[in-house]
């Protein structure tokens, strides 16, 4: 009896070991916040937190797919800025035009990345670095280096500022739908499994007859599309198309994915843990703001950067201990 339990526990840990750390850290941080700060668990804080972080969750999940193939997408932040401008221009026609329009714009840039990586065989780091610069330039060009007003009269702002059933922000609801959809895609479709196989060994996957080129093209387009959606959230939740936004988003998305236990070399990782990673990193900001509000210490912006780095270090070390245990067994 006890033997089986111990065995099962070991199996369980081995299976979920690479993402156990992030869930534990997330739970701990939430608990810490709830106990230490009043209003931390209040409806206002929760919904505004989700509203702001919806953008990062969506981007991180897209990034997760790219990283699972062993690639990387540095362009997501610029793409979100670019598509926020597109969305703002389309906002007079309402959400039903602006949302698909901006997502298509993101997909198009994703397709460009896919072309560079898959057809031209340019390393993803470089290809997406170039589109990062290009999309930023493009955003500034089409906006004339100005923020672009959205149409406050249309239903466009409802998405970013309204709530579904007076409960959760629409952005959070859409994000949840996207996350669940992508989770199913990864776990239950051959496309998803091909994505995982590519990260585990691209040549091998190709020799198995999988359509690796197609799957790779897909992840870059997906990531572009997710960034496009984040751009829509940005425009509708923050009232304008913003060509200057998105700086450093790619790095926080990468951090979320990695904190979620996904291997940067690909092949191993999950959508759920990535969401947890994104929430965790967002929560650090939120908690720092609350800590400043307690008035005991006032952390300067610089200390906040140092603390964020230190926190990332902590989670990564925790993560690497856990995942090295699983890694060892595989090698």
């Amino acid at each position: 009896m006890s033997v089986t339990t111990a065995f099962d526990l070991r199996r369980h840990l081995r299976g979920g070991g690479h993402s156990a750390g992030v869930w534990a850290a997330l739970a701990a941080l939430i608990l810490f916040g709830l106990l230490r700060y009043e209003n931390f668990g209040g409806a206002y804080n929760i919904s505004s937190f989700l509203n702001y972080n919806a953008m990062f969750i969506v981007i991180s999940v897209g990034m997760c797919f790219v990283i699972l193939t062993g690639g990387i997408d540095l362009s997501v932040g610029s793409v979100a800025a670019f598509t926020s401008v597109v969305a703002a221009y389309l906002s007079p026609w309402g959400i039903q035009i602006a949302l698909p329009g901006a997502v298509m714009a993101g997909l198009a840039i994703g397709a460009l990345n896919a072309f560079f990586v898959v057809a031209m065989r340019i390393p993803p780091f470089i290809a997406t670095l170039a589109t990062m610069l290009g999309a930023k330039g493009g955003a500034l060009v089409i906006s004339g280096a100005q923020t672009i007003s959205i149409d406050w009269g249309s239903n466009f702002t409802k998405l970013g500022m309204g709530k579904a059933f007076d409960l959760l922000p629409w952005t959070a609801v859409i994000t949840a739908i996207v996350v669940v959809g992508l989770w199913i895609l990864l776990e239950r479709t051959s496309l998803g499994r091909t994505v995982l196989a590519i990260g585990g060994g691209e040549d091998a996957a190709a020799m198995m007859g999988l359509n690796t080129r197609g799957a790779k093209a897909f992840v870059y387009m997906l990531s572009g599309g997710c960034a496009g959606l984040a751009g829509v959230f940005l425009a509708s939740g923050f009232g304008a198309g913003q060509p200057l936004e998105g700086i450093g988003w790619e790095l926080s998305a990468i951090a979320s994915v990695v904190v979620g236990g996904t291997l940067l070399t690909g092949g191993l990782g999950s959508v759920g843990a990535t969401v947890a990673g994104a929430l965790l990193l967002g929560l650090v900001f939120n908690i720092l703001n609350f800590e400043n509000g307690r008035g005991v210490i006032s952390l300067s912006a610089y200390w906040q950067m140092v603390i964020r780095g230190a926190f990332l270090l902590l989670v990564i070390l925790l993560q690497s201990r856990l995942s090295r245990a699983t890694q060892k067994e595989l090698s």
């Binding site: 937190f49 509203n51 007003s149 200057l244 936004e245 703001n289």
Partner: protein
């Protein structure tokens, strides 16, 4: 109507700074911290690290914490409107500091109490005016060093200056490139532009840091800033005043970061029920060789 502010002994005050990557912002934040003590504030200061979206999220977290008043230097004109609206909806009076929001959407006295600050366009115009008045040559070949591409001070300071200078046909702007409000970039851009346009004799920089960078570039190239090249700038930093005293720079239009005391005063009046004008305009001085030495000690 803006929400009223009750009169209290201590206030919980929110100050949502947009970024801390230049001396001007740092001086502004410091001014609020200094005022907090004298004005009996519990100050919650956040820093959005240059992201308008994060600035909105910061305001959100301050609303969640139940602040009494919000001072907000909006990073962008339009993207910060939601923050203003949300604070308004939560019954928190909002004062905009040093930059304003899009007047077509959010109005003083209605969505926010007032805007405390100067006018970037006006700053650009005054820099141009000084140049037009004091330039002695026949032909002014101008290089313009712009601030961060797309940022509102850069756009406005460019607009004010360019429009005014266009009215005088002695002047011609041969190149206008961004130096990102930074000294190092200002220097590099100036070095390059000087090669392409060796005949330049006026530099207009959107802030003092870039102006100092330009002075260094000129000196490295063997030019004499102040003598064969006139430098015009905005901000009024200590280094700039020193450069004016040294004769290397012509003028800098003040753009004071010390908003703390003014904020305290206006807030007190508002709590007392006084009428606050929609724009509490800050009187920007102008520093030239005539008065730089007097003011250098108060500069940051």
């Amino acid at each position: 109507e803006t929400p009223p502010l009750e009169q209290k002994e201590r206030y919980k005050v929110g100050f949502a700074q947009m970024e801390s990557n230049n001396p001007w912002r740092i001086a502004e934040t410091k001014s609020f911290h200094d005022t907090a003590e004298s004005c009996n504030w519990d100050l919650i200061a956040t820093d959005a690290a240059g992201s308008a979206a994060k600035q909105v999220a910061d305001v959100d977290s301050m609303i969640a914490q139940g602040i009494d008043v919000l001072f907000l230097p909006p990073r962008e004109e339009k993207p910060l409107i939601p923050a203003v609206m949300k604070a308004q909806a939560a019954g928190i009076p909002v004062f905009l500091v040093d930059r304003s929001v899009d007047p077509d959407v959010a109005k003083p006295g209605e969505h926010f109490v007032a805007f405390l600050g100067s006018d970037f366009i006006d700053q650009g115009e005054r820099a141009a005016d000084w140049l037009i008045e004091n330039f002695e040559g026949d032909q002014g070949i101008i290089v313009e060093l712009e601030g961060t591409t797309g940022s509102s001070p850069a756009n406005d300071r460019k607009q004010g200056f360019d429009e005014r200078i266009a009215q005088d046909d002695r002047f011609q702007i041969v190149a206008s490139q961004t130096g990102d409000f930074a000294r190092d970039l200002g220097r590099q851009v100036m070095e390059t532009l000087l090669q392409a346009h060796p005949d330049v004799n006026v530099v207009y920089a959107h802030n003092d840091e870039m102006a100092i960078g330009a002075i260094q570039a000129l000196e490295l190239a063997g030019r004499k800033p102040g003598e064969d090249v006139t430098i015009v700038s905005i901000d009024g930093t200590r280094d700039a005043l020193q450069a004016i005293i040294d004769g290397k720079m012509g003028v800098t239009v003040e753009s004071s970061p010390f908003f703390g005391p003014l904020a305290c005063e206006v807030m007190g009046k508002y709590a007392a029920g006084e009428e606050i004008p929609g724009w509490v305009q800050v009187e920007d001085r102008i520093f030239t060789a005539d008065n730089a030495a007097e003011h250098i000690d108060e500069a940051y």
